[in-house]
Homo-oligomer: 404 residues x 2
C-alpha cells in the first residue's frame, strides 16, 4: 500500500482524489500496489464531501507522517508550495506537482533535493495539462538533439484567437464571452499577456537542454493588441494567428520567445483550435512529433498528476534522474533571433511602397482591402534589424512573426 497526501483540495487536487478513487482497481494493477489518498491538506472545510474525513489543516501532520510516501502539490503559487515541497522531499517523500510557477522557478533545486534523498520530483501536469509531454521529452526523445519546440500552451488565448478567427470578432468581446463561459479568469492577465505560456516554454526548454532558462529572460508578447484587421490579413494569407511559446537551437545557443504568430496550414499546429493545446517538437533524428490534448481542466490535468503518482509508486527510494541543472542556458539575445515578419503600416500604398522598398529591399504586399494602410511580408531577418527598420519607418500599426 502506497499512501498519498494531497496538498490543496482545489480543482486539480480534488480531481486527483477523484481519479485515485474512481479508477482504483486499474491504478492498483498498473502501479503494482494499492494507492490510497491518506490525507488532504486544505485550510478550508468541506462539510458533506467525503474528503472531510481525511482533511488536515496542518502541513506538519503530513510531513511527519512516516506512512505517507508521495505528496501531491496542487496548491499553486510559490509560497508555501515551495517550502512544503522542499520539506516533503527532505523527509524522504516523493512529490509530484501541477504547479508551473514552482517548477519554472525552483525546478533544478527541487530535483537536486529529490536526488539527494533518493526520491522523485515529477511535474508532468505543469505543462500542457493532460497532454503527455514532460515524460516523452525526457525519455522518448532522449536520442535526439532538440532543434525546436513550438507550443500552443495556453487554452484561454487559443480559444480567444480561434473565436476571433472564426467569427471576425474583436478581442475584448471574445474575452468577455470567454470569461462568461469560464474559459478565462476574472483577471486574465497571466493568460492574455503570455506569462502562463512563458513559464511553460521555460520548463520545456530547460528540460530539452538540461540547463536553466529563466522565464524572466524570455521575450514575451501577449495577444491584447491583436485586432480583427490582423485576423483578416492572416486569412488573406491562408494563415491563422496563434500564440506560440517557441524555443529553437541556434548554433551553441538557444532562442526563446512567446508571441502571437501567423501560422500556415502546413504547420501541424495550424489545426489546433479552441481550448486545445499542442506541442510540436523537432528532433534532429525523429523529425516532427506533435502532442495534442486538453491543456487544462480538472480531470485531464489530474490524470497527468496521477500518472506521476503511479511512476513514483513504482520507484520508491529509486531516483529517476532528470537532467536540469542550475547552470544557465545560453540564450541568444533577442536582437539576434531571426524571423520572418508580417507588417502593417499607416497610410496607403502610394505613401509607403517606395519607402518600404528603400528600407527593406524585398517586401511582398498583402492586400486585404484596407486602403488606409499598407501591409507586406518580409523575408527572414534578425529582430534587431527589423526593429531598427521599423523605427525608421515610424508608422508601424502592428507586426507579427511568421511561423513556418
Amino acid at each position: 500500500m502506497i499512501n498519498v497526501s494531497v496538498l490543496g483540495y482545489g480543482t486539480v487536487g480534488s480531481g486527483v482524489v477523484e481519479i485515485i478513487r474512481e479508477n482504483a482497481e486499474l491504478i492498483t494493477k498498473r502501479a503494482g500496489e494499492e494507492i490510497r489518498v491518506k490525507s488532504v491538506l486544505d485550510l478550508r472545510d468541506f462539510e458533506g464531501d467525503p474528503v472531510q474525513e481525511i482533511l488536515v489543516h496542518d502541513f506538519n501532520e503530513i510531513v511527519n507522517d512516516d506512512e505517507v510516501q508521495i505528496v501531491v502539490e496542487t496548491m499553486g503559487g510559490l509560497h508555501p508550495a515551495y517550502e512544503f515541497v522542499k520539506a516533503s522531499l527532505e523527509s524522504g517523500k516523493s512529490v509530484c506537482t501541477s504547479n508551473k510557477a514552482l517548477v519554472a522557478d525552483f525546478g533544478p533545486e527541487l530535483l537536486e533535493i529529490a536526488e539527494k534523498n533518493h526520491v522523485n520530483f515529477l511535474f508532468e501536469a505543469s505543462v500542457g495539462g493532460g497532454i503527455p509531454i514532460i515524460r516523452p521529452l525526457k525519455i522518448s526523445l532522449a536520442p535526439d538533439e532538440i532543434l525546436e519546440i513550438s507550443g500552443i500552451l495556453n487554452g484561454t488565448t487559443n480559444y480567444i484567437l480561434t473565436e476571433m478567427t472564426n467569427n471576425g470578432s474583436a478581442f475584448d468581446d471574445v474575452l468577455k464571452d470567454a470569461q462568461a463561459k469560464g474559459y478565462a479568469e476574472a483577471d486574465p492577465t497571466a493568460d492574455v499577456e503570455g506569462h502562463d505560456a512563458c513559464r511553460k516554454i521555460a520548463i520545456l526548454t530547460s528540460l530539452a537542454y538540461g540547463k536553466q532558462l529563466d522565464f524572466g529572460d524570455i521575450y514575451t508578447e501577449g495577444i491584447t493588441k491583436v485586432t480583427d484587421r490582423d485576423v483578416a490579413y492572416a486569412k488573406k494569407l491562408s494563415a491563422k494567428i496563434k500564440i506560440f511559446g517557441t524555443s529553437k537551437k541556434a548554433g551553441d545557443k538557444v532562442s526563446a520567445m512567446v508571441a502571437p504568430v501567423f501560422v500556415y496550414p502546413e504547420n501541424p499546429l495550424y489545426n489546433v483550435d479552441g481550448v486545445f493545446n499542442a506541442i510540436l517538437v523537432k528532433g534532429n533524428m525523429v523529425g516532427d512529433v506533435m502532442f495534442y490534448g486538453q491543456g487544462a481542466g480538472k480531470l485531464a490535468t489530474a490524470s497527468a498528476v496521477v500518472s506521476d503518482v503511479i511512476e513514483e509508486a513504482k520507484h520508491v527510494d529509486v531516483n529517476m534522474k532528470t537532467l536540469w541543472s542550475h547552470e544557465k542556458l545560453d540564450l541568444l539575445p533577442n536582437d539576434e533571433v531571426k524571423n520572418m515578419f508580417f507588417v502593417r503600416l499607416r497610410g496607403g500604398r502610394a505613401e509607403n511602397e517606395a519607402k518600404v522598398k528603400e528600407v527593406f529591399g524585398k517586401a511582398d504586399e498583402v492586400d486585404a482591402g484596407f486602403s488606409d494602410e499598407y501591409a507586406f511580408v518580409l523575408p527572414e531577418m534578425t529582430e534587431g534589424e527589423f526593429s531598427k527598420a521599423a523605427e525608421k519607418l515610424g508608422n508601424v500599426i502592428n507586426r507579427f512573426r511568421i511561423a513556418l
Copy 2:
C-alpha cells in the same frame, strides 16, 4: 559502458547505428553511461562501410558475448527474429525491437521471459515509427481506463488516400506513383490490405487492456476498393476517407476493426495527411490525447528504438513490468459492433428511395451529382443489422463506416 548488438543492418538497423554514433555525447549524458554498438549481425558484407569492422555473421557470437547487455532486433519477420530475441532474453540481455509482427505474435511470451530474467523487452518503434505511443500509453495514460484508440497507423495508405482526396485521382494511379516515390513497396499487399495497421492496433489494444488481442481476430478491410466516386461523396459531406485502426471499450468487451472510414473535420485525425501517422487515445479521465509524427522512415523509427536502448541502459537487471498477459481479450463479435454507415446503391433515387426507407427507416440522402446511383448516411446500427439489410437491398456498390 553499455554494449549493444544490432541484429540486422537494414534500414532501421543502420539508422540505430547512425544515431548512437552521431548523437553519442547527448545519449551518454541521458543514459548516464556510454552506449556503444559492439557488434552488428547481418548475413551480408558491407565493404567500405565502417560497420564492416564490427560485423558478425553468426548470432552465437552475440548471444555468447557476456559484454553485450542490450540486443536491438531490426531484422523483421518472425523467424529467426523470435528465436534470436528469446535466446537473448534468456541469456540475460535486454532486447528492443521495431518488429511489429514479432510483438503482435509473441509479445506476452517475450515479456514473460524478460521478467523472469530481470531484463527488459521494449518495442516503442513497433507502432507509429518515431511517434512516442507505446511508452505514453503504458505510463502517461496509466491512470485512465482507455475508452478508444483510433489511429492512422500506416503511412503508405494515408499517402494514397490523401493524394486521391487532393487530386481526385484513382487508386491504381496513386499506388503506382507511390511505388515510384518509394512510399509503397513493390508488393503493397500488407499496406493496402490493412494487415500492417491490423498488427499495430492489435499491439496497442493488447497494451491498453493488458490482455492478448490476436490480430487474426480483428475485422480488417483495406483500401483497394476505394474509388474516386467514394472520395467525391466524402468531399460532399466535408469529410475525408482515411483508414483507421480502431478499438473501443464496449461494456465488458472491446471492439476492434481496421477499415477505411469517413472522417469529419471535428476529429483531430482529419488533418493528418500524407505519410504522417497519428494515434488518438480517449481516456475516461484525460479525454482526447493525440500523438502525431512520422510513422516510418529510417531515422524516425531508429530514434524510437534508441529511446528504448537508453531506457534499458538505465534499467540494467531491473525489469520494468509491462501488463500484457497471455489471457485472451474478450472481443465483441463484429456483428455486434455499432457504427454509422455511408452507403451507395446502384440505380437512381426513383428506384431506391422507397426501398431504402422500408429497409432502414431513416436515411439522409447524399447527392454528389451521380444520377446513376443513390447514396445516403444511416444512423448508428450494428454491423450485423447493416449486413442483413444490405443483403436484402442487393445493390450496394460500396459502404463506409463513419468515424465521429
